[in-house]
Amino acid sequence: MSFREILESGKFAVTAEIGPPKGTDIKEMYHHIEVLKGKIDVANVTDNQSAVMRISSLAVSKIVLDNGMEPVLQMTCRDRNRIGLQADLLGASVLGIHNVLCLTGDHVNAGDHKQAKSVYDVESVQLLKIVEGMNNGKDMSGNEMKGATNFYAGAVVTPEAVPLEPQLVKFEKKVKAGAKFFQTQAIYDMEKFKSFMQYAKKFPVKMLAGIVVLKSAGMANFMNKNVPGITVPQELIEELKAAGKEKALETGINIAARHIKQLKDEKICDGVHIMAIGMEDKVPMIMERAGLL
């Protein structure tokens, strides 16, 4: 089943990430693909994540596909103008890549080429509209194309953004612009997420909750302080602390598995998006403990 079919069938979907490396040595990346293959449903391929220059997401999406896994091509608007984005969308389409996640993209200030000129010719909402147009056989200038694309388009949302209201206005625009699925920023507070889902359920979109494994209480505190839109509740920080240094990661994995299980058992959302960030090896273990394997 394709990603679209999985979500539309109502099966609880699991996605994870493949992060293209900087450089031509892709042994470790192949290893991650092997670890995740057959376990997760699709792999998002990140696009110069955090504005750090790496192998292009399009090239790695094709590698993922050739190795037997369905990719979600992540596309940011930071590095390409509307011509480049559309050209790459057509390229992806003819290479057999049919899922695209439309993002605005972190500012170059976050990355390793801080002096770069940011593009942002268009942004996430407009990119979704471009995809919709191309699915209908037209480029964004309205020119008829020889052969339409057939993308399943998605976007992101931050359910715990502060302030939340402007974020929700943008979320609704993304839905209007053609987003069919959403992958969220990492969430840790199930009650808050449930109330977000009560709101989000009104829209005809599939929602995959973002899961990031907590490696330690320090990491949780760091994220609370430095990562916009992420709040780790105090009780989870206490749980990590109580586990002690040696068992912290183990506890973090259990927390992630527990959350995933709850999201699935209580039918809170349509799936999860596990962002392993260097711990791809642990994803199958998390899934096992969540009762998904």
């Binding site: 930071r78 509307r82 605005t104 972190d106 500012h107 200030n109 976050a110 940011s118 942002y120 010719d121 268009v122 942004e123 996430s124 909402v125 407009q126 509209k129 471009i130 964004m140 992101v156 949302v157 931050t158 953004a161 502060v162 302030p163 209201e165 402007p166 974020q167 206005v169 943008k170 609704e172 625009k173 209007k176 612009a177 920023q185 916009p228 839109g229």
Partner: protein, 223 residues
């Protein structure tokens, strides 16, 4: 107004050190307000350069003067005979002034002493802030009077990105998130409906140079 800041002194020194007769030429309008390029700053810069020349044991004749504007020929034409006596004009005007003077001066180089930055407001004396980027197609009526092109780090048109952080921009806690400000302002004006509308991709052709225009009414009168 147009804002700018003086270039690092060493960079200026390296530009002028091989010339013999240099005029530091100030502009008394915008760049004078930001204390970078008026007659007074030209005078100070000239004396600093003379001191440096003395320290380095280089013989350069360095004078200073200023006019009201470098961006309109009628302001500098009257003094051009004097200006042309030098073998370098170090202009403290904005880049517009440097370009225009350079076009009119003949075989003498005009170098910039300031880095021209943006169209700025002066919310408080001595403070300058960018509020408009001159995009050629104003949408302030849709955004509560707050410009997302100049004031959002990504020039977004449809709302905040995921980096918005308790009112600050992901780029720096010192930058306010323009889209949170727009949201608050539209709410105050009871016009949040405006934010719900999808804004189409911008026509950036209107924001890119070279740009010029003629005032139609004046053209008619000339005819």
């Amino acid at each position: 107004m147009i804002t700018g800041e003086q270039k690092p002194f060493d960079e200026i020194w390296n530009m002028v050190k091989d010339f013999k007769k240099v005029l530091v030429f100030g502009c008394n309008t915008c760049v004078a307000i930001c204390h970078a390029g008026g007659g007074k700053e030209a005078e100070i810069l000239a004396s600093l350069l003379r001191m440096r020349a003395a320290q380095e044991g280089v013989a350069i004749e360095i004078d200073h003067s200023a006019v009201e504007r470098h961006c309109e020929p009628e302001f500098f034409q009257p003094v051009m005979d004097n200006v042309r006596k030098y073998d370098l004009v170090l202009s403290t005007a904005c880049g517009v002034g440097v370009n225009l003077l350079s076009e009119n001066i003949g075989e003498i180089p005009v170098f910039p002493a300031i880095n021209t930055e943006f169209f700025g407001a002066v919310p408080r004396s001595g403070e300058f802030t960018e509020l408009c980027a001159g995009c050629g197609n104003c949408i302030l009526h849709l955004t509560g009077g707050i410009c997302p092109i100049a004031r959002c780090s990504k020039s977004l048109l449809n709302g905040p990105c995921g980096g918005t952080n308790s009112g600050s921009c992901e780029v720096s806690p010192d930058i306010k998130c323009a889209w949170v400000q727009i949201y608050d302002r539209l709410k105050q004006l009871n016009r949040l409906d405006l934010m719900g509308e999808i804004v189409e991709a911008k026509d950036w052709s209107k924001a890119q140079g070279p740009r010029n225009f003629k005032v139609k009414v004046l053209e008619e009168i000339k005819k």
